[in-house]
């Protein structure tokens, strides 16, 4: 639909250049930040992946593709797949839990809406490690959950919940649920209420109005929420370490171990780069899908 003119006249080009220069002072800090803290580190990371490891960390400047070849080993493929799987489960659960929550909050009166939103965000103000340790206390064999289950007679022996993949899912879900609720809430809350009224007025039952109007229009918010949950869940390494007991290794742990334990910087860099690329792909897909929803199919 939008086609840029194939050949801009020199005058137009000069004008664009001037406009670009005028914007420069405003863009410079952000661009500088991105270059220093994003482009250069990622560039370094990419650079590292093509060299051999040093004995005690660092690099030996001998070109090699071994690091990339190593990725194909079943061990690492398995870890990456498991990470994707866990992050995916966490995302789906967050969506299922978060949607009704966001929907309910958007329907509250302004006063209670504020209260509910603060309640959602509140855990973020508490130290993340403390919150994670709290889960250990809750889930371990002598923890509250087991005590409670035994007290009401559901089980006689403690169920081992800590240090399982399920525990990791619970921990990640707990950690990132607000990141699902907030964008969903934002998209639901900004929906023009007259759209639902119009659907109703045209004879749609409340459920039908929800399914055909509210739900599709909140999809971009849902997708944003999914990204907000999936991306950090996939690269988290603290929760798998503490709640998963290090038994279930996710990509995040693997990267960390390569740098700190195995002292294999090049391979760690390769894993980190793969993780980054994977997440970029996910984000690009999300952006494309959102645009398609809001703007409709591309027209020629």
């Amino acid at each position: 639909m939008t086609t840029t003119t194939p050949q801009a006249t020199p005058a137009v080009r000069a004008q664009r250049a001037r406009r670009g220069l005028a914007a420069a002072p405003f863009l410079a800090p952000g661009v500088f930040f991105l270059i220093v803290f994003m482009a250069i580190p990622v560039g370094l990371l990419a650079f590292y992946t093509f060299f051999k490891r040093g004995r005690f960390g660092g690099l030996v400047f001998e070109f090699t593709l071994d690091n990339w070849a190593k990725l194909a080993e079943p061990l690492y493929v398995g870890v990456i797949l498991q990470s994707v799987g866990l992050a995916f489960i966490v995302t789906v659960l967050a969506l299922l839990l978060g949607y009704p929550m966001a929907y309910a909050i958007a329907g509250l009166s302004p006063k209670w809406r504020t209260v509910a939103l603060i309640a959602v965000v509140l855990p973020f103000w508490t130290n993340f490690l403390i919150r994670t340790y709290a889960w250990i206390l809750l889930l371990n064999n002598a923890g509250f959950v087991n005590q409670w289950l035994q007290a009401i007679g559901i089980t006689d022996e403690p169920i081992s919940m800590l240090y399982t993949p399920q525990a990791i899912v619970v921990g990640l879900l707990y950690m990132y649920l607000p990141l699902m609720v907030l964008p969903l809430y934002a998209s639901l809350q900004q929906l023009d209420p007259s759209l639902r009224e119009a659907a109703t007025n045209l004879g749609a039952s409340p459920w039908r109005a929800f399914r055909t109007v509210t739900l599709p229009l909140s999809l971009p918010g849902a997708l944003t929420g999914c990204i907000f949950v999936f991306v950090p869940a996939m690269s988290n390494f603290v929760i798998p370490e503490l709640i998963g007991g290090g038994k279930t290794v996710m990509v995040g742990n693997l990267v960390r171990d390569q740098f700190y334990e195995a002292r294999d910087w090049p391979f760690g860099a390769t894993l980190a780069l793969v993780l980054t690329m994977l997440l970029v792909v996910v984000i690009v897909i999300q952006a494309a899908v959102s645009r398609r929803i809001t703007e409709g199919p591309r027209r020629g």
Partner: protein, 410 residues
């Protein structure tokens, strides 16, 4: 109304917290009528419309359509369709899908949906835009999609909430004609909510004027203009010189200028306001036997001119309108006489709520134009062809309409 009405609103009362939005409103609307609910923002007209549609629940009263009691029905089961002020088009659906929505909700078969959508798109001339999204349409096109979507189910009653307020002036004029045409063509009953008196006057068969939740007057546009029932209606419909005073047998005695002959049925001695339309005010250097005054300003509008005259004893200038240009200039000493005038009751305890001071720059110009265009025709049913300065034209749909009155009360 001798025939059975299509819509009957009976003693409808709406309350928000401590505020009463509607004070026991009752009115009947006939089949195939083009009916307008007119009033400033906050007068309750939208509440009434939303009560009919089922988005508000009145505290008391009955609403029936063709004898069917609406109030117990949920909104999606009422045989009433509505065109929303913002149009409320579904942004994620194409024009076609938007229009088909009502039929799909009803479970109509696919083939029938296709033919009926095609037909309706012909009626509103949208055929070529079927696949577009609402965001790719102009304001007028969106409005027609909204209209098509609302009429496709052939509702008994079509409600239109400020149908033209989001359009710019040129499009408004043509949409106004289009709505009239459509109403005749499809034979629907229209209930339009508007704060724009010109819109209501030019389109509606009958108008209910609402103010602060009360029905001020229900009449034809001609009658509203010629025989307003209250000071509010006189001020709200068209331009008027309002002269507060006391009723006498054949007019109103206005402090400062004396008796003004006016037709009325009020008791002598009761507080009253004489209503004199600008076209009933004659101004000229040779005019004698009336009041004396000084021309403050003249506004040339093409077909007519408005002259504003300061008269000693009156706190605000009088407005007069004449055909064509005027030779009178600012500062001219003139005589002023009144032609036809009516009188309406006045609430002495309440200070005049309308138009004690009017910015004389723009607003009188508009209404004088309308009045002058049509004073030979039926009352004031004209379109605002020139100088529309109403707030709706500037894109402020809920802005209250400025009082179109030149209040000369003390």
């Amino acid at each position: 109304m001798t025939a059975e009405p299509l819509l009957r609103v009976d003693g409808v009362r709406a309350v928000y917290g401590d505020t009463v939005a509607l004070h026991d409103i009752s009115l009947d609307i006939a089949h195939n009528e083009f009916f307008a609910l007119l009033g400033p923002s906050g007068c309750g007209k939208t509440t009434l419309l939303r009560s009919i549609a089922g988005f508000e629940t009145p505290a008391a009263g009955r609403i029936t359509v063709d004898g069917l009691d609406l109030l117990p029905l949920p909104a999606h089961k009422r045989p009433v369709n509505m065109m929303f002020q913002s149009y409320a088009l579904f942004p994620h659906l194409s024009v076609e899908k938007n229009i088909a929505y009502g039929l799909e909700a009803e479970g109509v078969g696919r083939a029938e949906i296709r033919t009926r959508v095609g037909e309706v798109m012909e009626v509103v001339r949208l055929g070529h835009l079927a696949k577009r999204r609402p965001s790719q349409l102009s304001g007028g096109q969106r409005q027609r999609v909204a209209l098509a979507r609302a009429i496709i189910k052939r509702p008994k009653l079509l409600l239109l909430d400020e149908p033209l307020s989001a359009l710019d002036r040129q499009v408004r004029a043509s949409m106004q004609l289009e709505l009239k045409r459509l109403q005749h063509e499809v034979g629907l009953t229209f209930v339009v909510v508007t704060h724009d008196q010109e819109e209501a006057m030019s389109m509606a068969d009958r108008i209910a004027v609402l103010n602060e939740g009360r029905l001020e007057q229900l009449a034809s546009p001609q009658e509203l203009y010629a025989e307003p029932a209250s000071r509010f209606v006189a001020a709200f419909i068209g331009t008027a010189n309002l002269l507060d005073g006391e009723a006498t047998v054949d007019g109103v005695t206005v402090p400062g200028i004396g008796p003004v002959p006016a037709s009325h049925a009020l008791a002598a001695g009761s507080p009253a306001t004489a209503v004199v339309r600008p076209e009933d005010v004659t101004v000229g250097t040779e005019v004698s036997g009336g009041l004396r005054g000084t021309v403050v300003d003249t506004y040339f509008l093409g077909g007519a001119s408005t002259i504003s005259v300061e008269v000693p004893g009156l706190p605000a200038p009088l407005l007069a309108s004449v055909h064509g240009a005027t030779r009178l200039a600012r500062g001219a000493e003139v005589g002023v006489t009144f032609g036809r005038a009516t009188a309406v009751p006045r609430d002495p305890s309440q200070p005049p709520s309308y138009g004690t001071t009017i910015p004389t720059t723009a607003i009188p110009v508009t209404d004088a134009a309308t009045a002058a265009d049509t004073d030979e025709a039926a009352g004031a049913a004209g379109t605002a062809a020139t100088g529309d300065a109403s707030p709706a034209a500037t894109g402020a749909p809920e802005a209250s309409a400025p009082p179109r009155a030149q209040d000369v009360s003390a």
